[in-house]
Amino acid sequence: MLVAAGCTPQSVTEEGRAVYGLYNLFLYIAAVVFVVVSGLVIWSVIRYRRRDDELPKQTHGNNRLELTWTLIPTVIVLVLFVFTMQAQNKVLDQSGDADVNITATAFQWSWRFAYEGTGAEVVGSPESIPEMVVPVGQTIRVKLLSADVVHSFYVPQTLFKRQAIPGTENLFDLTFEKTGLFHGQCTQFCGLQHPDMVFRVRVVSQGEYQSWLAAETRRGAAGQPGT
């Protein structure tokens, strides 16, 4: 049954690949634990059904056995912890310089994506879904802000999310490995139209990105009188 739970979407980012691997490691161990434990439960129920009135042997415990099943889970979780920390370091690594810096601002109930140093900006509304356009294969550094309440930036296929908290700047990196259009959504309940806080990430080639950025920058400049 648990094996069926393994359908995590394949990640489309470098960071997400570490999460995907970690998830599958957890899943294999979980499946073994589930099968062994529920197998023991089912076995003992079938094998030791009451057949007569004779009282079974009144055993009160077994220290060696109990120590064993204290140590086994301890070892398992310590191993899982080590792999967790490895994956976490990959997901949260921000040591390199970013190629693209985007300030993403969540507000009730949509998103604003501002491209640092270019003047390009995309603003959505509940009626018009905003698109965050990014180049493939480059490190995107998102600076996440909130204009009002707590929201959460989530693109399922990156296997990553982060809360947008008023008064806080949250930084994270995304490195897309595939081009395409990906669904994104706010996942922290944020009021009346929370389900409408949808956005898209459009991952395009380097060249397409440059021309999109140029057009968007011109549009931004034209749209703002006085600049």
Binding site: A30, T84, V91, L159, T187
Partner: protein, 559 residues
């Protein structure tokens, strides 16, 4: 008859009245009647919360908005969570504890009968305040049961409903603290001679640790609600960053209560399972002391893990909260293995109480294992706030809590009423519940992994529909299972088989007294020489089974 002198406190007047009658229940300070009041009130809240859950499932069965607007939907799921977590889950087990703990430790009543009554009436009062928010302009709160600031501040959510929500829950919190003082004192001070701590039934242990957790965790809840109330009504700026306040502060205090709350709910349930499995395996509990230490291990860890609910904030120290959360698997694992050890080479009867306990182990296992996933920050980043989390904690809360609760109901109903619940209807109840429950929540893991966020009235992604349809069908089947239980209750309380004092060959002292017990609980009490006084008493005179031969002529205070 082997009897000991009862350690009787001065009995208040109400103890001498005949049971029954509304006036009697309104004025009672008898712990058993207060326990029944708690259980009935909590069960009524559960039914209301369940109806709201069905409304949620109805709306989600297909994409788009069908049955209601977004605001109504937000109110419905907020109140579903509120009723279930704040007003039902901890109180139904408090009710069972109220009824059973004095019986299990051989006491005539609780330590503070009047404070106990006050605790119940405050609880009811709090429930009514929260429910009254349905009838004010603007309706009830619609900010999710976690009520994160600043969404729950007046700037973003106006309306009296929200204030009634805060006041009502604060009152219920105070009721919980008062009740906990009473039950903890009862367990420490009211045990009969011979009933040492390490001879107490595991259900009483579960209630003790659960009430200790309430004493430490509920004050944090009171604090966070007090701050929120001041922020909403008196212009305090605790959570507003423009005035140096902090939204993250709200999350910290809330989850400092919120995570222990999970164990406040589940520890007495562990206690129920610890009582049911040995009785229907006809063996002592395997590893009694390890079970007690596991309770304390879980309780201690539960105060050090709260920020696993906040991994996605990017503002907490991940390694510490991750390893602490992972380690909870160890004491929990001990419990599960000791249950299997109890059944191993036993003589197992599959009564409904036992079936519910086995169902508990299986669903709790799934809930626990997926909890391990969520203790890993990178995995949590992927699935936090999706239906994966919804499925996970419903496996713990609905699975864990309800299977254990029903196991307890089938197990102790004969003690409460003198009649047995129907086992035939019980089997139907179990079967429909087991299928309905898994149908409802298992597919939510899949749709959550696929990225469906929680708390949305509407979704645009078509491939999420099939899982949601199955979930809705399962939810209604679960609803049917609850109706079967109510029907079972209805017919059994009138025409159920007579139970006698000890229908299951129980281990703890409540099975020695009559069903239902007299107002002062016991006409006579056997001596206590082990953690199974009723077992010893049943096998008295058999040197192989009863560890110390109870001699009717012997001085009762020999202890």
């Amino acid at each position: 008859m082997a009897t000991t002198e009862l350690p009787l406190p001065a009995l208040p007047e109400a103890h001498h009245e005949e049971p029954g009658g509304i006036v009697d229940y309104l004025t009672t300070v008898d712990h058993k009647k207060i326990g029944i009041l708690y259980i009935f009130t909590a069960f009524a809240v559960f039914l209301a919360g369940g109806v709201l859950a069905l409304v949620v499932r109805w709306e989600l069965a297909s994409p788009g908005l069908q049955a209601m607007g977004e605001n109504t939907y937000n109110q419905v799921f907020t109140m579903h969570g509120t009723l279930m977590i704040f007003l039902f889950a901890a109180q139904v087990t408090t009710g069972l504890g109220n009824y059973l703990v004095p019986l299990q430790i051989g006491a005539a009543d609780v330590a503070f009968p009047r404070a106990n009554a006050m605790s119940y009436w405050l609880y009811l009062f709090g429930v009514l305040i929260v429910v009254s928010s349905f009838f004010v302009a603007g309706g009830p709160a619609a900010v999710a049961w976690t009520a994160y600031a600043p969404l729950s501040t007046r700037e973003y959510f106006q309306g009296t409903g929200m204030d009634l929500w805060i006041i009502g829950l604060a009152v219920v919190g105070v009721a919980g603290i008062l009740g906990a003082v009473n039950l903890v004192t009862t367990i420490f001070r009211m045990r009969m001679p011979g009933m040492t701590m390490f001879r107490m039934p595991l259900f009483t242990w579960g209630v003790l640790v659960n009430q200790l957790l309430i004493l430490f965790a509920f004050p944090a809840l009171t604090v966070v609600f007090a701050l929120l109330f001041l922020e909403r009504n008196f212009g305090a700026q605790f959570f507003d960053p423009t005035y140096g306040g902090s939204p993250i502060l709200f999350q910290h205090i809330f989850w400092f209560f919120g995570h222990p709350e999970v164990y406040i709910i589940i520890l007495p349930i562990f206690g129920i399972i610890n009582e049911v499995i040995p009785v229907f395996s006809r063996k002592p509990l395997f590893g009694y002391r390890a079970m007690v230490f596991a309770f304390f291990g879980i309780a201690a860890l539960s105060f050090g893990v709260w920020a696993h609910h906040m991994f996605a904030t990017g503002l907490v120290y991940l390694p510490y909260f991750s390893i602490m959360s992972l380690l909870i698997a160890v004491p929990t694992g001990i419990k599960v293995f000791n249950w299997i050890g109890t059944m191993w080479r036993g003589s197992i009867t599959l009564s409904t109480a036992m079936l519910m306990s086995l169902g508990f182990i299986v669903v709790f296992l799934i809930g626990g294992i997926t909890g391990i996933f969520l203790a890993s920050p990178p995995i949590d980043f992927a699935v936090n706030d999706t239906y994966y989390v919804v499925a996970h904690f419903h496996y713990i809360m609905v699975g864990g809590l309800l299977y254990g609760m029903f196991a307890g109901f089938y197990f102790w109903f004969p003690k409460f009423t003198g009649r047995l619940l129907s086992e035939r209807l019980g089997r139907w109840h179990f079967a429909t519940f087991f299928i309905g429950f898994n149908l409802t929540f298992f597919f939510q893991f899949l749709v959550g992994l696929d990225g469906m966020p929680r708390r949305i009235a509407d979704y645009e992604i078509e491939r999420w529909t099939s899982a949601n349809v199955l979930s809705t069908v399962g939810a209604f089947l679960t609803g049917v299972s609850v109706l079967i239980f109510i029907w079972n209750f209805w017919v059994s309380i009138r025409r159920g088989k007579r139970a006698g004092d000890d229908p299951w060959e129980g281990n703890s002292l409540e099975w020695v007294t009559s069903s239902p017990p007299p107002s002062h609980n016991f006409h006579h009490l056997p001596e206590v020489h082990s953690e199974r006084p009723a077992f010893d008493y049943r096998h008295r005179g058999d040197p192989e089974l009863a560890p110390v031969k109870t001699d009717p002529e012997r001085d009762p205070d020999r202890g």
